[in-house]
Symmetry: C2
Subunit: 336 residues, 2 copies
């Protein structure tokens, strides 16, 4: 079917325009070095022949790919996918394409990606979850890399993140101001730096207001809806139940509200519930969710911009960006 016709190469264009291949190459890459008249002739020939540069050849010669690899624990996760959008949107106008590796949360696979750089497949790395990077850090030596969402302790890697601690503290304080005294916390995975920061914020707020940190009010979780449900069930079984639940992401907050409903209670009437992230469905939830808004696309955009700077040898304005988050009070919490 597809009569596989020969793609025109740079020689074809050169011949047609009556110039050398060097001139064609220059016209395409550095037009200002070429006399306008010649330039026009070349562009004309390009159009006539339908020439498209062979990327592999250029990559080989220049050892640059104009591609960036994003290592993502889970593309389908609503959080990461929005960060990716910010990345994609920034990379495109800068002339980079985006390669995505979904590691499926598998530590093994997260390691592989140093090879992407070494094989000359990409110019830089964007790590959406640094958890395991510490192991790979040595191997990355030299490869431009930016870490997102999670700071990698002690790695010195440039990164972009939300001010998680401050945000969690602010949210907890809002709950305290609303008159809540027994505020439960539903945690993320223990190894998660992000969880660590949020918990620290929660604790700080309690301390600052002279409230005790009651260990029975802190429940483990893993960011899933189900985990939120389980945690809420456990909390409701306590002799003295909490008057508020702060889940460290929105999915768990929704789970908690479901559990309340299932138990014949209601948020915010009986227990206030707050989340973290402000995912798309938080505002549409029933009740709409009080939460912390993170600028997810901006995180992606800033990280991508920083990476491009690194790749192109420019000194990025900053190697560490912390974006402020915003408290969004909605219907799932209420003053006591």
């Amino acid at each position: 079917m597809g009569e596989r016709l020969q793609r025109p190469k740079i020689d074809d264009v050169a011949r047609r325009a009556g110039v050398s291949t060097a001139t064609v190459s220059r016209t395409l890459a550095n037009p200002e070095q070429v006399k306008p008249k010649t330039r026009d002739a070349v562009m004309q020939a390009v159009r006539e022949t339908g020439y498209v540069l062979n990327v592999a050849a250029r990559n080989l010669r220049t050892s640059r790919t104009h591609a960036v690899l994003a290592v993502v624990p889970d593309v389908s996760n609503i959080f990461f996918s929005q960060v990716l959008q910010g990345i994609a949107a920034t990379l495109r106008p800068a002339g980079y394409s985006l390669i995505i590796a979904d590691t499926g949360n598998d530590p093994e696979r997260e390691r592989d990606h140093a090879d992407f750089v070494r094989a000359g497949r990409v110019d830089g790395l964007l790590l959406l979850n640094g958890r395991l990077l510490s192991a790979a850090t040595g191997e990355l030596a030299g490869a431009p890399t930016v870490s997102l969402c999670e700071r990698i302790p002690g790695s010195g890697l440039p990164h972009v993140e939300t001010a998680n601690r401050e945000a969690a503290r602010a949210m907890t304080e809002r709950l305290i101001e609303q008159g809540h005294r027994r505020i439960a916390y539903v945690a993320g995975p223990a190894a998660n730096v992000l969880e660590h920061d949020r918990f620290a914020g929660y604790r700080e707020a309690l301390e600052a207001h002279g409230l005790p940190l009651d260990a029975s009010l802190v429940r483990p979780g893993d960011f899933s809806i189900r985990a939120g449900e389980d945690a809420a069930h456990a909390l409701l079984a306590l002799p003295a139940r909490p008057d508020a639940i702060f889940a460290c992401n929105d999915a768990m907050a929704m789970g908690a509200i479901r559990a309340l409903t299932a138990a014949g209670l209601s948020a915010p009437r009986d227990v206030s519930v707050a989340g973290f992230d402000d995912i798309e469905f938080a505002a549409a939830y029933n009740p709409s969710l009080t939460t912390v808004r993170q600028a997810r696309t901006e995180i992606g955009a800033r990280a991508a911009a920083m990476l491009v700077d690194l790749i192109e040898g420019r000194q990025p304005a900053s190697r560490e960006i912390r974006l402020p988050a915003e408290i969004v009070m909605r219907d799932s919490t209420r003053a006591r």
Copy 2:
């Protein structure tokens, strides 16, 4: 910092193993052609030197990239992101990497991607939204391409899709069986093939059961939560309000439920509401959402597998796959 040490190349390995570069190349690509003893020596040398093949060089020589481009209208959309996950999961073990182009729903950009193939940047294309492809179809001649989610009418392009019409019909029939008689439909964008099919299913079901198709019960929408709210508002303002609302995706169904709540009504007590997609948050919604479950990761996986077959010159088992969908009855609908 990064002492940019020379990456070993195939000659280094060859020298170290005492063989020619041809043998090294063969050992890596077609080990069975090489005598076991030689093979071991080469592998040893590879390990010692830390050799990693230069992908650009191989691409140039073989004019194959082992990369695939997915053209996505919006990565951050929960629907697409899950399809992407299926794609990524299938591509990886097959040895392909995934490049993502987020077109931001911009017709202009969807066009650009034929160039990706022509520039030799990828071996094939996965189109998650064929809407505009018709325009580009000519240019793709020869490039392996699979369309997902939406069949591209008259393109003859291989594709994978959900049996939207059948599923929408089945859902509508379930609502009828539950005793609903005034079933409203909240549509997707008019140009959308997917919307077209779902609406056809809705209409078929009404006809089959002798129910009239009441134009005032069909409201426009664009798949957003907000559109669902607006549609429901309009429907509630009708002299005779519907007893069920079938929104052609979950986000709009959630919007409709919000609107009901805002109007002091409730789903399913006053109006039943059904969605389509069964996104992650459908089960966690309040009330949990009756919807149509599409196997999103499977759509992605099947399409990716088909594309790999096409790229590698194998005849795919089928050029048109329609995956059945499953009706999931939950709490947002109730028998009248």
